[in-house]
């Protein structure tokens, strides 16, 4: 036990925790926005995978990693828009539409990667993002290297939390979004375009999923592999529930999950516990189910979640 604690109270652990939590945080915030507008976006896993592929390919050929991030975000927006077309304009089942988008995007990611790169013996890779230590701040003992010595995307992701909270709670845009999520009729009679709001939320979520995916292939690793997301998108659906559709709590949930993930990585490599490494891989998923079982009862989802909007029924 003390050996496990020893693994936790190290600078490296906390640094890893933030690094691992970043893509989850991005995707969780994205999912939060779409669910706040009343749309469960199950396209998350597929859009992340496609974002990882497109981001990697764009970064690889242009030589600019940031262009890769932009490409991933644009891809995400496109498929967020498609999700909007299906669930908002056509009023189709959110569950099945989302799964369809995930299957389609996963297929496109595999197909596109094979088409672009073929089957080389040496998988292509890029020079991944390097960490940018913030001057002065990173020199603070203990806290400095944990908080202020990361790749730029980590800073952006965590700055996005107060920004998302501001947007959601302090602007008319956010108020309207929340109204759409809670009461479609009220929003519509207040003159809010429910459909357009949902489209906006879905495109924001798509962009964040795409960036989150590209973070895996351009920052966390330096290549695209077919299993690069392997369920992390689905985890974010649970993190939104655990974070109770609030940016701050979502960030907390993502950090907690990041901690579990970082711990399993450390335990895996440290060899303190003599178990097959897959035991550690299943840990985050098991923890998520247990956390949901303990906390889901108190969670109150946005009231119009899964409710299609039809104008004629006003």
């Amino acid at each position: 036990m003390s050996e496990i604690l020893e693994q936790i109270f190290q600078i490296g652990f906390f640094t890893a925790m933030l690094r691992v939590a970043t893509p989850l945080l991005l995707a969780t915030l994205g999912e939060m926005f779409s669910e706040r507008a009343g749309v469960l976006n199950l396209g998350i896993e597929g859009i992340m995978l496609l974002g990882a592929m497109v981001g990697f390919a764009a970064g690889y050929f242009s030589g600019s990693l940031w262009l890769g991030i932009v490409a991933a975000a644009v891809t995400g927006i496109a498929f967020g828009g498609l999700m909007g077309l299906l669930t908002v304009s056509l009023g189709l089942s959110q569950h099945v539409s989302g799964l369809g988008i995930t299957l389609l995007c996963s297929g496109l990611a595999f197909f596109g990667y094979r088409l672009i790169f073929g089957q080389p013996s040496q998988p292509p890779h890029v020079d991944a993002f390097e960490s940018v230590p913030l001057p002065w701040f990173s020199d603070i003992p203990f806290i400095g290297p944990i908080l202020f010595d990361h790749v730029t995307l980590v800073y952006i992701a965590f700055l996005l939390v107060p920004f998302a909270a501001f947007l959601l709670y302090r602007t008319p845009w956010g108020l309207n979004l929340r109204t759409v999520g809670e009461n479609l009729q009220a929003a519509a009679s207040a003159g809010v375009s429910v459909a357009w709001k949902r489209y906006q939320a879905l495109m924001i979520s798509g962009a964040l999923f795409g960036i989150a995916g590209a973070y895996f292939s351009l920052a966390q690793f330096n290549a695209f592999t077919f299993g690069v997301i392997s369920g992390r998108g689905w985890v974010c659906i649970a993190l939104v529930v655990l974070g109770r559709w609030d940016p701050w709590r979502c960030a907390f949930a993502a950090l907690l999950f990041g901690a579990v993930d970082a711990l399993q990585l450390r335990l895996q490599s440290s060899g303190i516990i003599d178990l097959p490494f897959q035991v550690f891989l299943l840990l985050p998923f098991l923890v998520t189910v247990v956390a949901m079982a303990v906390l889901a009862r108190n969670a109150r989802a946005p009231a119009s979640l899964l409710v299609p909007y039809r104008k004629e029924e006003r």
Partner: protein
């Protein structure tokens, strides 16, 4: 003339047959764009795909063999979705069934005659038990079924891999896979010199049995009632939670049988690549079949054909084999859009204008 959409109150029966065909056709047209992008001729690629799936006896049997697990996962999803239990966990339940079958099939102590039946029962039970976890979490603790079933897919996959690289590893092979089941536990072959095994026949029978259960029994009625209108079902005296739970067990059991078939009929062991996403394909199949158990069979054969044919197409034309995955996702979306025609009909109307 103007075109307008009118709400339908009755869905004509022929639409159930026509819509999937339209959806599939639209998908193949859309995916033709990807074939062109891959620098191949669309017609040539699809011909190669068709020949690869049905071109000769061997290919045709391979397609049927691949369809068997897809029929079971398709049935599993169709049953669950009918009750609005969003079981995305057929993948994991399949693995549960496969593990039970591989474990039972390798027991030396059991009498030979009992092996195949106990594998079937054990595998179905294992799948059912694994599916009962998210169902219990749903009815007792209000845990979202989508999230729970998805998470459990990963839990059981990694648990299986842990077992396969640890205590359950086949000492004779260098890979993380389980010891082979006994020869006598293997499914009999139905057609000599092919791989057509008992599981294919069981899948077809399974579809008929599930159809009978859904349309001719009170349990099937209860499942549909809960799915159509949970509140009305509860008012009508149907124990909703119990129905959801039993539906989940039935669904998981069917998915478990898919795993039994793969172990007893094809691979004779479990390993990492046992299921290339059969559970997820089951969702597409169930939707294409409009959740009708009998419709699951042709839908499963279609996707099995795409999967087997894609290999030949890839070899012949250089189009990446993953076109099969794109077709799956695209056809789910196309089918969903096509379903709009069950709710609305297109009317061409002459508009009278005031002179």
């Amino acid at each position: 003339m103007r075109i307008r959409l009118e709400t339908r109150f009755i869905t004509p029966a022929w639409l159930n047959f026509v819509l999937p065909v339209i959806a599939v056709f639209a998908t193949l047209v859309l995916c033709g764009g990807l074939v062109v992008a891959a620098g191949a001729d669309v017609f040539e690629a699809y011909t190669a795909l068709f020949k690869g799936a049905f071109g000769n006896r061997f290919n045709f049997v391979e397609t049927l063999v691949k369809a068997a697990p897809l029929v079971f996962t398709g049935l599993a999803v169709a049953v669950a979705f009918r009750a609005r239990f969003w079981n995305i966990g057929a993948e994991g339940q399949l693995l549960a069934g496969a593990m039970a079958a591989a474990f039972i099939g390798a027991r030396e102590g059991l009498p030979t005659w009992s092996l195949v039946p106990s594998m079937l029962v054990g595998g179905a039970l294992a799948g059912g038990v694994w599916a009962s976890i998210p169902a219990l979490l749903k009815v007792r603790l209000k845990v979202d079924d989508v999230v729970a079933t998805l998470m459990l897919n990963f839990v059981i996959f990694y648990a299986m891999m842990a077992l396969l690289s640890g205590p359950w590893k086949d000492s004779l092979s260098g890979y993380p896979d389980s010891p082979d089941i006994r020869m006598v536990a293997e499914f009999p072959i139905l057609l000599e010199t092919t791989r057509l095994h008992l599981g294919v026949l069981l899948a077809a029978l399974g579809a008929v049995v599930v159809w009978l259960v859904m349309t001719r029994t009170t349990f099937g009625f209860a499942i549909r009632a809960v799915g159509e209108n949970t509140r009305a079902a509860a008012h009508g005296g149907i124990p909703v939670n119990r129905v959801v739970l039993f539906t989940a067990v039935l669904s998981g059991g069917l998915a478990g049988l898919a795993g039994v078939g793969e172990v007893a009929g094809l691979h004779f062991q479990v390993m990492a690549t046992l299921s290339p996403g059969y559970g997820y394909t089951g969702i597409v199949i169930a939707m294409l079949a409009r959740l009708n158990p009998l419709g699951v069979v042709p839908a499963a054969i279609f996707f099995a054909a795409i999967a087997t044919g894609a290999e030949s197409m890839s070899r012949a034309t250089g189009v990446p084999v993953f076109l099969a995955d794109v077709i799956q996702g695209a056809s789910l979306i196309c089918m969903l859009v096509a379903l709009l025609f069950t709710q609305y009909r297109v009317r061409l109307k002459t508009v009278m204008r005031n002179a």
